[in-house]
């Protein structure tokens, strides 16, 4: 209601502005058709703009358009992707037809923050991908659409968990405990979940990579901005489309483990001495995952309105039994012009409901190490207490089949986004607009562990968990745009705006054990005896925060030759200290098209651009700037236990925005009649005032930690893209390849403390307080740190190198005999995109390589050798296995491997049917697609993908923590395995 209150106060001016719409001025309507000059066919979706105004139109399926031309306007500009732009002088006629010639790719529309630009006007590092550029195949998450296709954007998801989220890192790391993922903007609504929009409904994705382009989103923009534009209807003919595919996921790679016979021969404990039980545990838990995806959309419009409706259904199954999801997604968008076309109203509604079977990723780990001589189930009385599943009283040892069959871990997430935007033309070159939106999500979690499940259930006699997490986000944005014509093709465009956004969160979780019977599952929490006995855990929370911003921007275009942009966003957040709630985020950029100034043979376009921008980042939590008291354990006071409260965090009224200043210099070029095009970018970014919950001395502080602006990073990088348009171009064969290259380095310039911290605990069994990484001022991020082997001795022990040369070997102290033994950050990434057409056939594939990074292979760290005393666990069998070694497993340089890889990420072969007139369809395409078809690597783990964050160690049924982005290069045992996917699909247009 508070939001409505604010809206009522802030929104009155909009009503006032709308009133002005009643004033009309004289105008006329120009109609016509845009055609391909070679074929004479109509061009669908070409842009028609009235020069010097904000008016425009888009051609319909037959190439027809209709545009209202105000008094005084003299020119129309026609533009279309892949065709040369044309500007036509208006005469007396109200019909203007235009034949467009294929040519430059310069005039694509690029979505920037709060507006659009033509690609030639861009002065910062922005990449725009259209739906035809997207990755195909079994795509569930929009991030997959652009994986490997944008230099400088690392999108990774180790393993193929259908419910797993992608880690998106734009130009490396930009924060530690605040947002590390880019801001997602859907149709102008910032801060939206990437999972809200179905990949089928996305028309284009634009990524604002550098500071000068992202700064207009000020806050939350430090990790870059991803702008998603959804598909819209076109007035004219009504169209229907169906897209569907079926996909098959298979295990791409597994670890070799010993068979039952080999295991016994190697000294392993035979758990079935009376028979020859031999179990392939990995086979027992994996499956061919079958997925079905259907998308049906309807679009069209009459008169001054257009709409698009879309429905998506996904049913995905992963390679691990019991993992998968079902998702229902509906979206509706409309555009309507009223008040003599002076008021345009756009609306969007997205509804998504996802039912997830998260399953238990731990099953992979225990399937690798479970004893191959143990059976899956047994009728022995010994196993009755485990429901007939063979379990042993060993530490960190579970029957993975029992784990996934006896228990469940499910979720149901409902998300809604509604938004309405009204744009009013006050004059032909001045408009105001209002954008209102609300996003809601409700995430219901549901877990149950059977009374007989050794994993989490048995000890507590059955466990039920239910949770609800709700969020609501309200947005109000007001903006005005004014365009000043400077004559010819020169103009100056101004933008001013106000943005209000509030975020409300609340949730509830209950975790209770001890139930009479499994029959009730977690449906009746009252039946769990831990509740009356006080042993259950029930928690709840509620918090809210607000962001308020003012922003302004000026864009200059001088005769399409010189371009400049300058802007400022002033933004405030409730999450900061009373003294520092507001931050300033300025930016400036400029570019020049050299080819307009001088004629260089073979150069069609050459643009230099340079920009600098400041972006901000706010912490993920509320209330960090005030002294808080939190409940601790109870204490015994006068015969009763009473609650104790102590300070949990100190006040810091100076807590302020994390700030990143980024300099970017780039070149865009097109050569040899647009045959070769590309861009090169160099950047340097300094991130200061990083917010950390940092240890402080007690006294004088009340609590041991304070949230402070304390650390800083510096990163530099280089990105290069080159595309060869129709490198081969015969009558019926075309090949367009492209290459993308990126590299970056990140240095922790200031950790905020003088000492060195060993980080990333290896974990149990036996390797607690042994660490993978190290952090200190000036450290490059991603160092793996540990002892180095000298030799393996005859008695099976290891001699380590005396690195500090003091005569004694101390492998457990970081500054004694430990050193850098690897780097988790890749040296560079290289992708190659390819597009072939041959008659009706088309073939696209993406080769993606990541080079020079190392991974600590944790399966080897723990399971390289059988336990020297009693081998109840199996071991992983890699080329590094040394049978002479009998010492206990301990992390050292032998477990760090080069993980350079080249992967055929995606390949799609399609056939477009020729459709004679009179058929029902106007488009029919059949395709087959493969993902992860092959990977070339020397890495012995299942997935050589770089690990850019670390979920930490977990054992014996524990739960992983929030991933730590400072611990890089660790291939933990909790990773889902990698799948190879083949899909077959069809696209039909009606």
């Amino acid at each position: 209601m508070k939001f409505l209150h604010t809206l009522s106060k802030c929104g009155f001016l909009v009503a006032a502005l709308l009133l002005m719409g009643n004033v009309a001025w004289s105008q006329r309507t120009v109609k016509g058709k845009a055609t391909d000059a070679d074929s004479g066919e109509g061009l669908i979706g070409a842009t028609v703009a009235v020069v010097g105004t904000t008016r425009g139109a888009v051609t319909d399926i037959d190439g027809n358009y209709s545009v209202d031309v105000p008094e005084g306007a003299t020119q129309l500009r026609f533009s279309y992707t892949g065709y040369t732009e044309q500007v036509i002088d208006l005469g007396a006629s109200n019909v203007v037809n235009v034949a467009m010639k294929p040519g430059t790719v310069l005039d694509e529309v690029v979505v920037i923050g709060y507006g659009t630009l033509k690609s030639r006007e861009v002065t910062s590092s922005i990449v725009s991908l259209k739906s035809e550029d997207f990755n195909k195949g079994n795509v569930t998450n929009p991030a997959q659409l652009i994986q490997g296709k944008i230099a400088g954007v690392s999108i990774s998801r180790p393993g193929s968990d259908p419910n797993g989220d992608f880690t998106i890192r734009l130009r490396g790391l930009s924060s530690i405990q605040s947002g590390t993922s880019p801001l997602v903007v859907v149709d102008g609504v910032p801060g939206v979940s990437l999972n809200l929009v179905d990949p089928n409904d996305i028309a284009s994705i634009d990524v604002l990579k550098d500071g000068s382009s992202a700064a207009i989103y000020g806050t939350r923009a430090s990790s870059g901005v991803i702008l998603i534009t959804t598909k819209k209807g076109v007035a004219g003919t009504t169209r229907a489309e169906y897209n569907g595919f079926v996909a098959f996921d298979q295990v791409a790679k597994r670890y070799n483990v010993l068979s039952a016979d080999d295991f016994i021969a190697a000294g392993g404990t035979d758990l079935s001495p009376n028979d020859n039980t031999s179990t392939d545990w990995f086979n027992e838990i994996t499956q061919t995952g079958v997925s079905n995806v259907h998308n049906l959309s309807l679009s069209g419009g009459v008169g001054k309105g257009s709409f698009r409706a879309s429905f998506n259904y996904r049913d995905n199954s992963g390679i691990l039994r019991t993992t998968g999801l079902k998702q229902y997604n509906g979206s509706l968008s409309f555009t309507q012009k009223v008040l003599n076309d002076r008021l345009r109203i756009d609306g969007n509604l997205f509804l998504t409901s996802r039912e997830s079977e998260y399953g238990f990723l731990e099953a992979f780990r225990y399937a690798i190490v479970n004893n191959p001589t143990a059976g899956v189930k047994s009728t022995d009385a010994e196993y009755t207490r485990f429901g007939g599943y063979v379990e042993k009283d060993l530490f960190d040892y579970f029957n993975p089949v029992a784990m996934i069959e006896q228990n469940y871990n499910r979720g149901n997430i409902n998300r809604m986004l509604g938004n309405v935007r009204a744009t009013l033309d006050l004059t032909s070159n001045w408009n105001v607009s209002m954008n209102l939106s609300q996003e809601r999500s409700a995430n219901n979690g549901s877990e149950f562990y059977s009374k007989q499940s050794k994993f989490r259930g048995f000890g507590r006699n059955g466990v039920g968990i239910r949770s609800v997490d709700n969020s609501t986000t309200n947005l109000l944005e007001l903006q005005t745009e004014y365009k000043l014509n400077l004559g010819g093709n020169s103009d100056l465009r101004f933008l001013g705006g106000y943005a209000y956004q509030d975020f409300q969160y609340n949730g509830f979780r209950a975790d209770a054990g001890n139930i009479l019977t499994n029959v009730l599952e977690n449906n009746n929490l009252r039946a769990f005896q831990e509740l009356p006995r006080g042993l259950a855990t029930v928690t709840s929370y509620r918090n809210e925060n607000k962001l308020i911003a003012y922003f302004g921007r000026a864009l200059l275009n001088t005769d399409d030759t010189y371009f400049g942009q300058v802007g400022l966003r002033r933004e405030g957040s409730t999450r900061f200290g009373a003294n520092n709630r507001w931050g300033l985020f300025p930016w400036v950029s400029a570019g020049v098209n050299i080819e307009k100034l001088t004629d260089i043979p073979g150069v069609d376009q050459l643009k230099f651009r340079v920009g600098y921008g400041v972006t901000g980042n706010q912490p993920n939590q509320n209330g960090l700037s005030v002294l808080q008291f939190a409940p601790g354990a109870s204490f015994y006071y006068n015969g009763n236990y009473v609650p104790s409260y102590g300070p949990s965090q100190n006040a810091n009224p100076d807590l302020k925005w994390e700030q990143k200043g980024e300099f970017d210099a780039g070149i865009d070029f097109n050569l040899m009649d647009y045959k070769i095009g590309g861009s090169i970018d160099f950047y340097n970014r300094k991130t200061n005032d990083l917010i950390l919950n940092f240890p402080v001395p007690v006294p004088p502080n009340l609590a041991a930690t304070t949230w402070q602006n304390i650390a800083s990073f510096e990163s530099t990088g280089l990105e290069a893209v080159v595309n060869f348009n129709n490198l081969v171009n015969n009558d019926n064969f075309q090949w367009t390849p492209g290459l993308l290259f990126s590299t970056y380095k990140v240095k922790l310039t200031d950790l905020g403390r003088a000492d060195t911290i060993a980080s990333a605990n290896v974990g149990a069994p036996g390797q607690n307080d042994v660490y993978y990484t190290i952090l200190y001022n000036g450290a490059p991020l991603g160092q793996l740190w540990g002892p180095k082997r000298e030799s393996v001795n005859a008695d099976g022990t290891i001699t380590y190198q005396d690195l500090d040369g003091n005569g004694t070997v101390d492998i457990n102290t970081f500054n004694a005999d430990q050193t850098k033994i690897g780097s988790g950050i890749p040296a560079f990434e290289l992708s190659m995109v390819n597009s072939f057409t041959m008659g009706n056939w088309d073939l696209n594939f993406l080769l993606r390589g990541v080079f020079g990074h190392d991974l600590a292979n944790e399966y080897r760290v723990f399971y390289e050798n059988l336990d020297p005393t009693a081998a109840t666990w199996n071991k992983v069998d890699t080329k590094y296995y040394d049978p002479t070694l009998t010492a206990s497993n301990r992390f050292d340089d032998a477990h760090v491997e080069k993980a350079t890889f080249l992967r055929l990420d995606n390949a799609t072969l399609g056939y477009n049917f020729n459709l004679g007139s009179g058929t029902w369809f106007n488009k029919a395409r059949l395709y087959v697609s493969g993902q992860n078809l092959f990977t070339i690597t020397g890495y012995t783990g299942v997935d050589p993908e770089a690990r850019l964050e670390d979920p930490g160690s977990v054992d014996n049924g524990g739960r992983t923590a929030t991933p730590n982005p400072l611990n890089i290069g660790i291939d933990r045992r909790s990773t889902y395995f990698l799948a190879r996917t083949i899909s077959v699909g069809v696209n039909l247009g009606f």
Partner: protein, 519 residues
């Protein structure tokens, strides 16, 4: 242009409203689910809850990894062998047992953080209560009572610091300047501080021994700390204080509020809060006051079936063969150890250990045997008798409800005996006091006391009560090879190893700290 002017007329006031209207720009944060300075410490109930933070910091005593663990593992009564792939953990527990402490070992830093965390909480609360009292926001009588209690509790933490790290900074104020880095004080200075602080504050405490003082600092808890301080004064300062020790013990004895229970284990059962022998215990509870994890720390994975434990134990802590064999078979206190073949909770079904090593002589049935084949790296998983002093209730969670004993009456009796014996080797009272403890354990009375008899009896009586290390030091046995037979892995240590190293992590933060000699 008329229209433009009209628009400007409307826009400007609109922008004005946006900029200055409160609801459009208000960024005050409202917190719904946490307490802040503005909302906390308003009532006496909340006042009491603040005091709780000082006592709940003691809850770390009963779990693995810090002060108590290092005290025990560095003595001859407890060890954590490396059992193949289990319990290597960077070598810190092997280091502790061999007295090869490293300044970077996590268990040393954890111990420092536990002890100074306790000191700081006391300092903070003394400061807060004094401030509230001065401002008239708290009941003065209650505030003074709490402040006296906190001074004694701080004295307890400093006594532990004196005992382990020895040379530490003395921080007593809270309103110190920013960047305050206290300097190391000598062990003598720390001793003097603890002595004077207890002398000043203990007389202010309540002499009642009942539920109103249970688990908290009372007059007699203060006397017990003084008794410990004086018992070890010669180690701490070079000057013995036997008479002062005997006097402090005598006050406790003469109070009549304590007695030796007929059953030794009355002080260690799940409902041990009624024991008349407990002077100070951490009042653990599986629901309200969690943190006593002994069953997890010491029992074997398979012992889950024996005690129907809700979580699988970790198979770490065990006792040493010779320490166990120091007990007569008829000694009641031999049940301080879990020994022999193990059965499921029905008492009949043997617990089978699937991870039994082929070279384990006892076969697959879980069998805790006193002999430990080696310290590291390949100790047998079933080797070593386990710590069974506290009752493990059937169906227990990882957090036991037994109260964890810090000071006990029979220790006071034996401390007075030891002090009197030092003053007069022929003291009949000293002999009688020790024999009270002997008789209760169904052991024949001693005819005369010797240092060996005293240290052995203390070992049997006080097993796993956190005093063995200081007892060995006081009797000059700490630096000697433990026992000296084939299983004696502690080869002997220099006198400097009686103190723990100042943790590297702390010296990095505070350059005014001085490392102890020998590190």
């Amino acid at each position: 242009m008329k229209k433009l002017a009209l628009s400007v007329k409307l826009l400007l006031p609109a922008l004005f409203v946006l900029t200055f209207n409160n609801s459009c720009t208000n960024l005050d944060e409202k917190l719904y689910d946490t307490l802040t300075e503005d909302t906390f410490l308003q009532t006496e109930e909340e006042f009491i809850s603040a005091l709780g933070a000082a006592y709940t910091s003691l809850y770390a005593l009963g779990n693995h990894g810090a002060y108590w663990s290092v005290q025990e593992v560095s003595s001859d009564e407890v060890m954590i062998p490396q059992r193949g792939g289990d319990w290597g953990d960077g070598g810190q527990w092997i280091n502790a047992h061999r007295h090869e402490f490293k300044a970077a070992d996590p268990n040393i830093n954890n111990s420092w953080n536990f002890l100074f965390g306790g000191v700081n909480t006391c300092n903070r609360l003394i400061f807060q209560f004094q401030t509230l009292k001065d401002a008239g926001k708290a009941d003065a009588v209650l505030a003074d009572k709490f402040i006296a209690e906190l001074r004694v509790l701080r004295g307890l933490y400093y006594y532990w610091l004196l005992d382990t790290f020895g040379n530490v900074p003395l921080v007593t104020d809270f309103d110190v300047p920013d960047g305050f880095l206290p300097a190391t004080k000598t062990r003598q200075e720390v001793y003097d501080f603890v002595e004077s602080e207890l002398n000043a504050a203990v007389p202010l405490l309540d002499k009642a021994v009942n539920g109103t003082t249970y688990g908290r600092m009372s007059y007699y808890v203060g006397k017990a700390i003084q008794a410990k301080l004086y018992l070890n004064a010669e180690v701490y300062t070079g000057t013995a204080q036997w008479q002062k020790c005997a006097d402090a013990c005598n006050e406790i004895i003469n109070s009549g509020s304590y007695q030796v229970e007929a059953d030794y284990y009355a002080s260690f059962i799940t409902n041990n809060q009624t024991s008349k022998e407990i002077i100070l215990a951490v009042p653990y509870d599986q629901v309200f006051a969690q943190g006593f994890n002994l069953a997890q720390m010491t029992l074997h994975y398979g012992s889950q079936a024996t005690f129907d434990l809700q979580e699988q134990p970790w198979n770490g802590y065990c006792s040493l063969q010779e320490f166990y064999e120091m007990h007569d078979a008829n000694d009641d206190r031999i049940n301080n150890f879990v020994e022999g073949p193990q059965f499921a909770s029905d008492g009949v079904t043997p617990v089978i250990d699937a991870s039994v090593e082929p070279n384990d002589p006892d076969g697959p049935q879980l069998n805790f045997t006193p002999q430990i084949n080696e310290h590291f790296p390949n100790a047998l998983r079933q080797a070593g008798v386990r710590i069974g002093k506290y009752e493990f209730k059937k169906g227990a969670t990882a957090n036991l409800s037994n109260d964890f004993v810090i000071f006990r009456y029979s220790d006071v009796l034996m401390s007075r005996a030891e002090a009197l014996w030092h003053l007069d080797n022929a003291s009949q009272e000293a002999l009688d006091l020790v024999n009270v403890v002997r008789v209760r354990a169904r052991q024949p009375q001693f005819g005369a006391l010797t240092p060996d008899l005293l240290i052995q009896e203390r070992g049997r009586e006080m097993f796993y009560e956190g005093v063995r290390r200081q007892d060995l030091i006081r009797f000059g046995k700490y630096g000697q090879q433990f026992y000296g037979n084939a299983t004696g892995w502690m080869p002997g240590s220099a006198d400097t190893k009686q103190l723990w190293p100042i943790p590297t992590a702390q010296i990095n933060i505070n350059p005014n700290l001085v490392q102890n000699p020998g590190y």
